[in-house]
């Protein structure tokens, strides 16, 4: 393979698109003209929110194969223990979850694996707020997700997960970028995708820049010199006058030109959202889980500055503040009034220990709040963020208390993130119980997906952590997910759990490919290369591909371009599954949506 030609293969397609932009869209600030008039991407109102779990999430302590004896034997100090009072073999269909009850004890951290209801799997107790989504059929777990010739390098594997082209370091465009480029909205909107994190992820990166990264939604404007309105009116046009200037070609000049154009054209874009972002009035209330603590502590309804009323409850997107957690405007999350009993503090999402800790822990929710606002109020259809800290080589759990520690903290915030997004779009989205003016997105329009570049070793190391490994778990949520109880569900008693069960893995939900979980020390948890890695049963591209085609509306032809592996079904097996080039049988696209 020629290194340059491969890069050109992907670049040239989109350079052609850029040319169209420059030629025909004088009044359109972003994007490019779509090369192929097909599919419904961006036109059908369907949207995607991604959360990249950086560092490599320990899938085995997320969706736990609790009945595989090798799980317990290989993690003597780090396994999530089973509750001796629970029969995990019972197929209940639903995830055990104790909503707020009448006694303080129900608020305590549950120190055991939560039964997931398919007779084999369990989930981390810090994921308990996933249960309401799962039991409503809105959540699917897809376990054992990886790719052929899996790299155990964080940086390499992140690249492959974001370009959609494994084991090729030359590709510079992300799969979400390619998805946007295939949209009928390309060239007609200021932007089609956004990320809210420190820098643009590779998944959104591409030559024509239809996506932007916004580290801080409140700072999307310039100063003037002097820093007055007149100063802005003088400075901004002067800056814009640069772009027609021609210079000799250099590596980054086209990219700089695009970034400058898009930046200067989109100044002030988010001004309409900043007030809502700063006010952060979105809450969960008494209706959602029957918890009346807030109702008794407070005197009635909450009314925000726009006259919208809210029942008392938890803040969906916790924010840190100088007087956290005492003031109700900033405590957020499912933190309780500190005047409540100590046991209720167990329900804090965000630590109250220090302002620094709060800040690092609330950044996920700040980014998700911004993501939710943009998804609900603009036509951007791929929005996301990242959540770091999953590289738990060390101190994944606290000694003697394996349900606490770094991974537990990550799981707790992740589960609240899913819960809060569900509630936000159900309440404030299009058709929601308290629909915001101009809302564009309902819960049924949205799919949330997690990605994580690698899993962690099945065997714990001496530092109560796990080393870099291979397959892990993906979470997919949304009203369109065919989870437990949905009439469209084809996964039988496994509900919304894919590839973490010993039977039924060869049914229609798996394209009838046999990828059953084999227990024991020579089984699924040790199937890959070095006999200490969770073996893959599903390719991540099959999960993303299904979402991009079935939800976002790509045609198969478009998907073949977005994820090039789909074009070579005979070896990659992304669509219908089968034996891959490394001899591993994968399921193809699981039927989760």
């Amino acid at each position: 393979m020629n290194i340059i030609s491969r890069r050109k293969y992907l670049t040239q397609q989109f350079k052609a698109g850029l040319g169209a932009l420059l030629a025909t869209t004088a009044n359109v600030p972003f994007g490019v003209q779509r090369a192929l008039a097909e599919g419904n991407i961006g036109l059908n109102g369907k949207k995607l929110l991604f959360i990249f779990l950086r560092g490599g999430n320990d899938g085995l302590n997320t969706l736990i194969p609790v009945l595989d004896p090798a799980y317990a034997s290989n993690r003597p100090n780090t396994r999530i223990p089973m509750d001796t009072g629970t029969d995990y073999t019972t197929v209940t269909g639903t995830m055990d979850f104790t909503p707020a009850g009448s006694t303080a004890g129900t608020y305590d951290s549950y120190p055991y694996a939560i039964r997931a209801g398919n007779g084999f799997a369990a989930v981390h107790p810090s994921l308990k707020w996933l249960a309401p989504l799962y039991n409503a059929g809105h959540l699917a777990f897809i376990h054992r997700v990886g790719y052929v010739s899996q790299s155990r390098s964080n940086s390499s594997s992140m690249r492959y997960w974001e370009t959609g082209v494994p084991n090729d370091n030359t590709v510079q465009e992300g799969h979400f970028y390619r998805t946007m480029m295939q949209s009928g909205l390309a060239g007609t909107r200021a932007f089609l995708g956004l990320s809210f994190q420190s820098s643009l992820p590779l998944s959104l990166n591409g030559y024509a820049t239809p996506a932007i990264n916004v580290p801080d939604i409140t700072r999307f404007n310039l100063l003037g010199i002097p820093n007055t309105t007149a100063g802005n009116l003088k400075f901004d046009p002067a800056l814009k006058s640069e772009n027609p200037a021609q210079f000799p070609a250099k590596n980054y000049r086209e990219a700089l030109k695009n970034n400058y154009k898009f930046a200067l054209d989109s100044l002030g874009t988010f001004e309409g959202l900043v007030a809502d972002y700063n006010e952060n009035p979105y809450r969960d209330d008494v209706v959602t889980d029957g918890d009346e603590d807030w109702a008794t502590a407070w005197d009635g309804q909450r009314v925000d500055s726009k006259g919208r009323t809210h029942g008392p409850g938890y803040y969906l997107f916790p924010k840190a503040g100088s007087n956290f957690p005492s003031a109700d405007t900033i405590n957020g999350g499912y933190a309780r009034d500190p005047g409540q009993s100590v046991t209720q503090l167990d329900k804090y999402v965000i630590t109250t220990s220090s302002a620094t800790s709060q800040s690092s822990n609330t950044s996920l929710f700040n980014n998700l709040l911004a993501s939710a606002l943009v998804l609900n109020q603009t036509d951007a259809f791929i929005v996301g963020t990242e959540y770091s800290g999953f590289e738990t080589h060390d101190s994944a759990v606290i000694a003697g208390s394996p349900t606490t520690g770094n991974h537990a903290n990550l799981m707790r915030r992740l589960s609240w993130a899913f819960y809060s997004l569900w509630k936000y779009f159900s309440i404030y989205g299009k058709g929601g119980t308290n629909e915001l003016p101009g809302a564009k997105t309902s819960w049924n329009d949205l799919v949330i997906v997690t990605m994580s570049e690698i899993g962690r070793t099945t065997v714990e190391n001496t530092t109560l952590g796990f080393d870099d490994a291979e397959a892990s778990v993906m979470l997919v949520a949304g009203g369109a997910v065919k989870g437990y109880g949905k009439p469209t569900n084809t996964n039988g008693s496994n509900g919304g759990i894919f590839a973490c069960n010993t039977t039924g893995c060869d049914g229609p939900a798996y394209n009838n490919k046999t990828v059953n979980w084999v227990t024991g020390n020579s089984g699924s948890m040790f199937a890959a290369g070095g006999n200490r890695y969770l073996g893959r049963a599903v390719d991540y591209r099959s999960v993303l591909g299904r979402i991009i085609r079935k939800h976002l509306g790509a045609t198969q032809n478009q998907l073949n371009t977005i994820l090039p592996g789909y074009a070579t079904e005979s070896t990659q097996r992304l669509l219908t599954g089968g034996v891959c080039t490394d001899g591993i049988t994968i399921a193809g696209e699981p039927d989760f949506i």
Binding site: I225, F235, N259, N461, G530
Partner: protein, 787 residues
């Protein structure tokens, strides 16, 4: 004449001809001729490094000679003639390229330094940036160790390659540098523990020391270290040394906050006393860069020297979890350091190793700890320490601020110690081939792949060389002697061609351009054939890498960094347009280069207080002791000494380019130029410039209110690499901006052109603000993001 008539018939009114008067190979190409209101506009393509575009014309091709056409004006790449003149006319466009010295000066100051300063340019350019006259009398002269006398750009490069011969005066440039320097601890200095007002009864009853009672008044915190580091980047004479220190600090990434957090953990127990934790944790970062600085001041510094400093660094031992990794008994060693040592620090991903090597190597890195010992043992890794937290025997209470240690007359330093009880004994076999199920070696070993060929001085680089490493277990290799396994591996890594490739390629990306693919030994990947050194038609980039490898392997000892750097800067790729402006500045490079662009010692002393642009360092990092570098994070997440990914910050420009990043960079440039105390200054804080002071110093008084000359000077010092002809548009923009009074706060000035503003006003006058605005505008443009 016949031809001319024919052409005139084909082009009845005007005819363009593109020609090139200068020595460069490429000629400007006429792209359009538009006639509007009887005024013809001629446009052409830009030429790399064009200092000047000139228009020549003649009414009779072949009859009358071409002469300079002064009957119009040029804006950017367009010439507009005032009138048609009622005749046909033939045109020729000429471009004069910048001199090779000036081009090289621009490249050197952007790559071997954190950007040019006005004073640098006066020392390096052929012609003085103000007078335009021959500048040879002012040029830098440097005699290299080979006795060769160099001038201008060549002198600067030769000088920077020998930092040990450059007198460093950076301490004079800002009072913070010496002040912070006094707060940074050497490895044998114990933190200064100051007790302030402990309440009665605290002794013996508390296991926590709080800041309310104790402080380290004289030890550096993270913000101090960052400010000190940034000050060096801004003002050091040994610029290339500073560039390389940043490069290697990023290459051997550690994360200060992880060290800091470790010290709050239960085994150690320095809980709430943030200054105690910081005094140790942040000095570990300082020891790294101080160690690398000293190493690089040795002309024969090798990669091994740098790698060893990293491997022994407490910050690294904590960052990649070596500290907790045990190999004794049934313990499974932590693979984190072993993996990154192979993938990131030495060989490069997929370049000569596999998972089994990582697993095997992880056994070597067991027993490497961070301990607390008497200062006399600061360099003795075999100091007898107890188990976690590895405190020297008899010095249990030697860590002020730690759990149950309220005050103490015993003082400890933190350092690398070797705790052999945790080491995995037994033989280790590295770079051998294992069975597919990894249960054991198959009896064959790894060999240098065919793409290397055999044209090397040392056997280790030759195709087919067996580079496996067998470390057998004997009585002599156990106990404290087992520490040697680590050093044996580090030395072997230094001598491997894969390590040389990885490091040389990263240096090429730093100094030349980004388009050097990563090397691999996997023959099915495209990069394998890209770096096939037996291929006679390999790319210039692959050839440069080969030459760097040659410099690496042909010296004794192997892996000498300065030899590699010298090879790169002497290459055609470095010295030509192939390198110029081909990279994007990191946030650090962007901000520091902006300060340097406007920085001159206005009284010529080079002393603190005399500079027309400076920073206190903190303004680019953080004014708070332990928090993130707010400015650097806003500009792209570059939280100095606290990178969260082991790969460090990326070198490639695409990673730093984003829409929001553009906005933040422009905002910073604006805030930097805004006067102190004025609205909007907060973003840049105490990074300030006095553009007026610079203009007063550099330009004669008669030019101070001349918008054309002021703009010309600013364009020349901010964009020395592009060619003055190519930034003519920028010049026009700056002139327009200077003459635009629409934003002046004084209504009386709003209609005045620049020339009518009094030049001797105080700060915040219309004159001052317009100058600041024009400078900010020039620092905000696309070409300033490049280096």
């Amino acid at each position: 004449m016949k031809t001319a008539r024919l052409i005139r018939r084909l082009f009845p009114l005007w005819l363009m001809l593109a020609a090139f008067a200068g020595p460069a190979a490429e000629a400007p190409l006429a792209t359009s001729l538009i006639i509007t209101n009887g005024r013809p506009q001629l446009s052409w393509t830009p030429i790399l490094g064009a200092d000047l575009y000139e228009i020549y014309s003649t009414p009779e091709l072949g009859v009358l000679p071409f002469s300079s056409d002064y009957s119009g004006g040029t804006t950017g790449l367009t010439f507009t003639r005032f009138t048609m003149g009622g005749e046909n006319r033939f045109f020729r466009i000429s471009a004069t390229p910048m001199s090779s010295n000036n081009l090289l000066a621009g490249i050197a100051l952007n790559r071997l330094a954190y950007g040019p300063t006005p004073d640098d340019l006066e020392q390096l350019l052929d012609r003085h940036p103000v007078t335009g006259l021959d500048n040879s009398a002012n040029q830098l002269v440097w005699t290299n160790l080979g006795g060769q006398v160099c001038t201008g750009a060549a002198a600067y490069i030769a000088q920077q390659l020998e930092p040990w011969r450059i007198p460093e005066t950076v301490t004079n440039t800002h009072t913070n540098i010496a002040f912070i320097g006094s707060k940074l601890l050497s490895r044998t200095q114990v933190p200064v523990f100051v007790v302030t007002n402990p309440p009665d009864g605290l002794y013996g009853i508390s296991n926590q020391v709080t800041n309310a009672y104790y402080t380290f008044s004289t030890n550096a915190q993270l913000a101090d270290l960052r400010a000190w580091f940034i000050q060096h980047a801004v003002g050091a004479k040994r610029q290339l040394l500073e560039v390389l220190l940043q490069f290697f600090d990023n290459h051997f990434t550690t994360q200060a906050s992880k060290s800091y957090d470790y010290l709050s953990g239960s085994p150690f127990g320095v809980r709430n006393n943030t200054t105690v934790r910081g005094a140790h944790a942040y000095n570990w970062e300082f020891w790294e860069i101080d160690g690398w600085r000293q190493a690089l001041l040795n002309p024969a510094c090798t990669f091994y020297d740098l790698l060893k400093i990293s491997a022994e660094s407490p910050a690294q031992i904590i960052y990649l979890d070596t500290l907790g990794s045990r190999g004794d008994g049934s313990n499974v060693p932590n693979e984190n350091y072993a993996r990154e040592l192979l993938e990131l620090f030495a060989m490069g991903a997929n370049n000569g190793y596999e998972q089994t090597d990582i697993t095997e190597l992880a056994k070597v890195w067991t027993g490497w700890k961070v301990g607390f010992v008497h200062p006399t043992n600061a360099f003795n890794p075999f100091t007898s320490v107890g188990s976690l937290p590895y405190v020297q025997s008899g010095y249990t209470n030697c860590i002020p601020g730690a759990r149950n240690v309220i005050n103490s007359n015993l003082f400890a330093v933190s350092t690398f110690v070797y705790y052999s009880a945790h080491h995995r004994t037994g033989s280790k076999l590295l770079w051998t081939n294992y069975t597919s199920d990894s249960t054991g070696p198959v009896g064959t070993t790894k060999k240098v792949p065919a793409r290397f060929g055999t044209d090397w001085a040392s056997d280790e680089f030759k195709a087919g060389y067996d580079y496996s490493l067998s470390m057998t277990d004997t009585n002599l290799t156990r106990g404290t002697n087992s520490i040697q396994e680590g050093y044996t591996v580090l030395q072997r890594l230094n001598d491997l061609p894969f390590t040389a490739e990885n490091i040389c390629i990263k240096l090429c990306r730093l100094l030349v351009h980004d388009n050097f693919p990563s090397p691999t030994t996997l023959s099915n990947l495209a990069e394998y054939s890209y770096y096939d050194y037996t291929n006679p038609s390999r790319t210039p980039e692959a050839e440069l890498v080969r030459q760097c490898l040659r410099a690496w392997e042909s010296t004794t000892p192997k892996g000498q960094i300065w030899k590699v750097v010298e090879t790169i800067v002497n290459s055609d790729l470095f010295r030509t347009q192939a390198a110029a402006s081909q990279k994007i500045k990191t946030p650090l490079e962007f901000t520091v280069s902006a300060i340097r662009a406007l920085r001159s010692s206005t009284n010529g002393t080079g002393n603190a207080g005399s500079f027309s642009a400076y920073t206190d360092g903190y303004a680019l990092s953080s004014t708070n002791t332990n928090t993130v570098s707010i400015q650097m994070v806003r500009l792209g997440g570059m939280d100095l000494f606290n990178c969260s990914t082991a790969a460090g910050w990326p070198e490639d420009g695409a990673s730093w380019l984003s829409v929001a990043g553009v906005i933040e960079r422009i905002r910073w440039a604006q805030a930097f130029c805004i006067n102190t105390g004025q609205s909007g200054k907060t973003d840049a804080g105490n990074s300030v410039t006095d553009v007026r002071g610079l203009i007063y110093t550099k330009l004669p008084p008669a030019s101070w209110t001349n918008a054309v000359l002021v703009a010309d000077y600013l364009v020349k010092i901010i964009y020395p690499t592009e060619g003055r002809g190519n930034v003519d548009t920028y010049h026009k923009m700056a002139v327009t901006f200077l003459n635009d009074g629409s934003a002046d706060s004084n209504p009386l000035d709003r209609t005045k052109p620049f020339s009518q503003l009094p030049a001797n006003n105080a700060g915040n006058s219309s004159y001052d603000v317009r100058l600041r605005g024009a400078a900010a505008l020039l620092l905000s443009l696309q070409r300033f993001q490049e280096q």
